[in-house]
Structures are given as structure tokens and as C-alpha cells.
């Protein structure tokens, strides 16, 4: 039977050699004695990085530009999560593809900070957009898109500062003060810019229901969304499309803002039917500078320009 052993060994050897040929050592944590904080998505990550400075290693799980609702971690990403000293997550089901991995990290005893636990959570209100029968869009459903409100981010910064002290023994209160001031200014600036728009123009139609906190803070009306859900994973249906077109016409909305994950053909056809501009809006990713404040300024500016 020795030819059988040869038959067996050959494929195994091929696979093993392939594996060895480009191997890197296991994802090693930086050997600099500092704690490792893992943040799930880029926008929250940039705020945490600025807060922590160089007092700890901050790693962001999702590459910037990936859809936070959908992105799934690889084996090495899961390894980073399960070996972290602290995980900073959004909460409210934002990180859909990371559910199981975050559960594994919890099981491994990793400490967690959940951003949504430290703000006033916005729930879907009556008359908002299209009731689609989806539990995600039902009145009372909790909105996870908290990063579009600088005041909410300030509450998170303050709460995280405390957690970092108690859980990791890191004092970032100096940076926290600076950031609080910056976030206050940001809030004032955006409010002033937005005031240039008359109330009748402040009507939002987006790719999915992602601007709830922004609308609440700066007094915009949420008319509807192409995907009537708090999640990009849902699908648009024919009846929803017709309802949206009618809402746009009735409310005299001036522009539709598409986002990451919005089906392009659907947005174009609604744009053609209603005669309304279709503008691309970045709501889930940081600009090139990687800065939260630039992100918010760009967001506000694009919305204001679109609705003038």
C-alpha cells in the first residue's frame, strides 16, 4: 500500500508548502507595553484616537469606507478583538457583521465600552418616512447613527474618559477638555451654517435612515429614505419606491442624498421621476484627512449646498 501513502502525502505537502511559503507570524500586539484599544468603525475610531493620543495603541477594526452595517472580520481581525484590552463599540446593532466576533471577545473576558449607552438614544418617530413593516423602521426602533451629532459625541468622549481611567488606568482628561471645547465649537458652527437655510428647505431624503441625530439636532425634517430602514442591508420594494416619490413631491424636497450602499439605479430612477437632484453624501466614512471635524463640516456643507 505504499503508493497510497504517496497519494496522501502529495496533496498534504502541497498545501502545507503553500501555507508556509508566505507565512507571517501571528498578529502580534505592538511590543511597547501600552494597552490596546480596539474601536469597531472608523468615525468613532478617529475620535478615540484623538482622545487617547499616544497613551495607548488604538486599532480600528473596519477599514475606512467599508459599510459598518455589513463588514465581517477575518480570522486575524477576530484575533485582534479577542486579545484587546478594551473594545469601543457603537452598540444598537450597528456592527451587524461583527456580532459573533464581539460575542467571542466578550466571552474571552475583554472589557467593553458601548457608545450608545452614554447618549440619549433617538427612536424612530411617527410620521417619519415610510412605514415599511420592517421592525428596524417601526416607530420606536432605536437609531444607531449617533456620530452625526457633535453633542452626542461630546457625551461619549466624557464617558469614555472615565472608563479609560477606571478600566485601563489611563488619564486623558487634558485631551478630553480640548475635545469638548472643539466639539462645542463644531456644534455652534454647524448650527450657524444651517440657519442660512429656511425651515421649508430643511427636508431630508437619504439612502437609508442615517441622519436622524443630525436632523434632530439641527431641526431638519426626515421625509423618507430609499431603503426605508436603519440598515443598508434591507432591500427596496416597488411600493416603497412609489410612496417615496409621492412624499418627495408633496414635501417639495429639493435633493435626494445617496450614501454608501444605496442602489444607484433606484436613486436615479426616483430622481428622474421627481425631477429632483441626486447628490452623493458621505455619512459612514471619514474624509482623506481622517478627521471627525472635517467629516462633520463636509457633511453639513454638502447638505446645505444641496438644499439651497
Amino acid at each position: 500500500m505504499k503508493h497510497l501513502t504517496r497519494i496522501f502525502l502529495t496533496p498534504i505537502l502541497i498545501v502545507v508548502l503553500l501555507g508556509l511559503s508566505a507565512c507571517q507570524p501571528a498578529a502580534a500586539s505592538p511590543q511597547n507595553g501600552k494597552k490596546t484599544i480596539v474601536v469597531t468603525y472608523s468615525i468613532l475610531g478617529s475620535v478615540v484616537k484623538e482622545l487617547v493620543g499616544d497613551q495607548a495603541n488604538v486599532v480600528v477594526s473596519m477599514p475606512n469606507g467599508q459599510d459598518p452595517h455589513e463588514w465581517e472580520p477575518s480570522a486575524k481581525d477576530i484575533e485582534t478583538l479577542t486579545h484587546a484590552d478594551l473594545i469601543v463599540q457603537n452598540g444598537l446593532g450597528l456592527e451587524g457583521g461583527m456580532e459573533k466576533s464581539l460575542a467571542q471577545a466578550k466571552e474571552a473576558g475583554v472589557k467593553f465600552f458601548t457608545a450608545s449607552e452614554h447618549i440619549t438614544i433617538r427612536t424612530v418617530g411617527t410620521g417619519e418616512g415610510i412605514p415599511s413593516g420592517d421592525p428596524d423602521q417601526a416607530v420606536g426602533a432605536q437609531d444607531p447613527h449617533l456620530w452625526t451629532d457633535p453633542v452626542a459625541m461630546k457625551q461619549i468622549v466624557d464617558a469614555l474618559t472615565q472608563t479609560l481611567q477606571t478600566e485601563l488606568g489611563i488619564d486623558v482628561s487634558a485631551n478630553a477638555k480640548l475635545m469638548d471645547a472643539k466639539l462645542d465649537s463644531l456644534n455652534q458652527e454647524v448650527a450657524t451654517e444651517v440657519n442660512a437655510l429656511p425651515a421649508s428647505s430643511r427636508k431630508l431624503v437619504t439612502g437609508h435612515e442615517s441622519l436622524g441625530y443630525f436632523a434632530q439636532r439641527y431641526e431638519f425634517k426626515l421625509v423618507g429614505a430609499i431603503i426605508p430602514s436603519l440598515d443598508t442591508q434591507a432591500q427596496a420594494s416597488a411600493s416603497d419606491m412609489a410612496a417615496l416619490a409621492k412624499l418627495i413631491k408633496d414635501n417639495q424636497v429639493k435633493a435626494i442624498f445617496t450614501e454608501l450602499g444605496t442602489p444607484a439605479n433606484v436613486s436615479e430612477s426616483i430622481g428622474k421621476e421627481t425631477g429632483v437632484k441626486v447628490i452623493e453624501l458621505t455619512t459612514h466614512a471619514l474624509p482623506k484627512s481622517g478627521d471627525y471635524f472635517d467629516f462633520m463640516h463636509n457633511l453639513a456643507q454638502t447638505i446645505i449646498d444641496g438644499l439651497k
Binding site: P11, A75, K76, E79, S101, Q233, Q235
Partner: protein, 283 residues
């Protein structure tokens, strides 16, 4: 060499995935052997896809996907029996009908709920890196059940595979044992969808058993080889997934398929060589 073991030693989730994968290899090795020997590939594929509506409904209702999958499988097997009993249609027509009907039903259910798409991908392709301890225990129990059934029914299964006429003569109801076999396939599909997903479990059923069929002529040897090849695929696939950031479930099935083709190639080369030398073919 350390690089081959380190990922599993320093990560509980990798070790758990490995164990779950090993269990799947054994169940699929045993059941896959029957599929290859009895030509049941079509119904195996039908079951793998037909469990979709059951899983979809289960997720909507908040009950474990496995329960839904089990119900789907029962409906499918029952439906196939019904059609073949109440009509003169051949079994592959019956299988095809149930296959397509249930798959369509699954898609309709999924498209009605707007919260589904990401989950659908995970159902189809599995989430072996996200397996929890409970699932592993469930798989161990199911694998044990499959092994025990195979041992208890060894003789009738053997006859069914190699000489169905003799099975009747020996007093075994071929209908009964055929249904037991189908149930085993259903169980293997159901417990494996969490690791490699419903689309890929079929690969784990066919590729290792197919390669084993090229290497062994006796049923129990085939099962052992199929399980071993499956295990090697799981181990290598997980390692490759870790090193190269590739989806784990797909990596495993890809390795299993490559092993099959490697074995096929080597076998044919050996045959060609022994013919050249003028040596009579022997296995």
C-alpha cells in the same frame, strides 16, 4: 512548524472552529460515502438548498436555525415520497421540484423581511469562526448519532450500496433503509450549515468521499479516508484563511476540492505508468 499550530493555540475561536470542522468532516465523510456509492448527489444538493426556507422562518421567529432546517428537511423528504408514491414521476423529477420550490419559497421569505441580506450570506456560506460552545456540543451529538446509525445499519447499507437485489432477498426493506440514509444526509446538512453554510456543505459531502472512492474499494475504508481527507481540508483551510485573510468556509471546501483533483491526477498518472510498463491493472 510553529506557524502551523500557533493560530490554534493562541485563539479559542480558531480551536473551536477546528473542532467543529473535524466533527463536520466525520459526519460528511460517513454520509458522503453513501451519497457517492448510491448516486444520491442530487438529493443531497436538494436538501442542502431546501433547508433555506426553514432556516429563514426560524430566524424570523427567533428560534434556532437548526430547528427550522430540520423541519424543512422533513418537508422535503416527505414531499419527495409523496410525489413518487402518488404518481409515476421518477424520483429525480420529484427531487428537482421540491428543490426549486423550496428554494424559491426561501427567497420569497427572505425578500419580504428587510432585515435579512447579511444573514442570508452567512446562512449560505457559514460562519465557522463564530461558532459557540453550544453548537460544537450539538454537532458532537449529531456526529455520534450518525456514526452509531452507520454501525447499526452497516449490513443493510452495504447491501443497498453494492447489490440492492440481495438486500430485498436478505429481508431488508430497501425503502426503510433508503429513508434512513436520507435522514442521515439531512442531519449532516443541518448540523453543517453553521460551519460551512448550506451552499458549501455539499462540497464537504462530495469532495472527500469522491477522493476516497478513488482510493478505497470497501465501504468502511472509504468512510475513514473521506473523514481523514475532510479533516486535512478543515485544518489547511482554516490555516490558509488565517494567513491570507480568506473566507474560512470557502477555503476549507476549496482545499477539499483541490485534494480530490490531486488524487484524481495521481491515480491517473499511476494507471498510465503501469500500463506503459505492461503491468496489468491492479488496485
Amino acid at each position: 512548524m510553529d506557524v502551523l499550530i500557533q493560530p490554534f493555540l493562541s485563539n479559542t475561536f480558531m480551536l473551536r472552529a477546528l473542532i467543529a470542522g473535524m466533527l463536520v468532516s466525520v459526519s460528511c465523510g460517513v454520509v458522503g460515502t453513501f451519497i457517492v456509492l448510491r448516486g444520491l448527489a442530487f438529493i443531497g444538493d436538494a436538501l442542502a438548498h431546501g433547508v433555506l426556507p426553514g432556516i429563514a422562518v426560524a430566524i424570523l421567529l427567533g428560534i434556532p436555525g437548526i430547528v427550522g432546517a430540520a423541519v424543512s428537511a422533513v418537508v422535503m423528504i416527505g414531499g419527495i415520497s409523496l410525489i413518487t408514491n402518488k404518481s409515476t414521476l421518477s424520483s429525480d423529477t420529484a427531487i428537482g421540484l421540491l428543490f426549486v420550490g423550496m428554494l424559491a419559497l426561501g427567497v420569497v421569505i427572505v425578500s419580504r423581511s428587510t432585515t435579512f441580506s447579511g444573514d442570508l450570506v452567512r446562512i449560505l456560506f457559514g460562519e465557522i469562526l463564530g461558532i459557540n460552545a453550544q453548537s460544537v456540543i450539538l454537532q458532537a451529538v449529531a456526529t455520534l448519532a450518525i456514526i452509531l446509525t452507520a454501525i447499526v445499519c452497516a449490513r443493510p447499507f452495504l447491501l443497498l450500496c453494492f447489490s440492492p437485489e440481495q438486500a430485498q432477498v436478505s429481508g431488508f426493506s430497501s425503502k426503510l433503509y433508503h429513508n434512513i440514509m436520507l435522514t442521515m444526509i439531512a442531519v449532516a446538512v443541518i448540523i453543517s450549515f453553521q460551519t460551512v453554510g448550506t451552499m458549501l456543505v455539499f462540497g464537504m459531502l462530495l469532495a472527500p468521499a469522491g477522493a476516497a472512492a478513488l482510493l478505497a474499494k470497501r465501504m468502511h475504508t472509504m468512510m475513514i479516508y473521506a473523514s481523514l481527507i475532510g479533516m486535512v481540508s478543515v485544518y489547511s483551510g482554516l490555516l490558509v484563511s488565517y494567513q491570507f485573510n480568506i473566507a474560512a468556509g470557502s477555503a476549507i471546501v476549496l482545499v477539499a476540492t483541490l485534494i480530490f483533483f490531486a488524487v484524481l491526477l495521481i491515480k491517473n498518472l499511476q494507471l498510465a505508468r503501469s500500463r506503459q510498463k505492461g503491468v496489468p491493472d491492479h488496485d
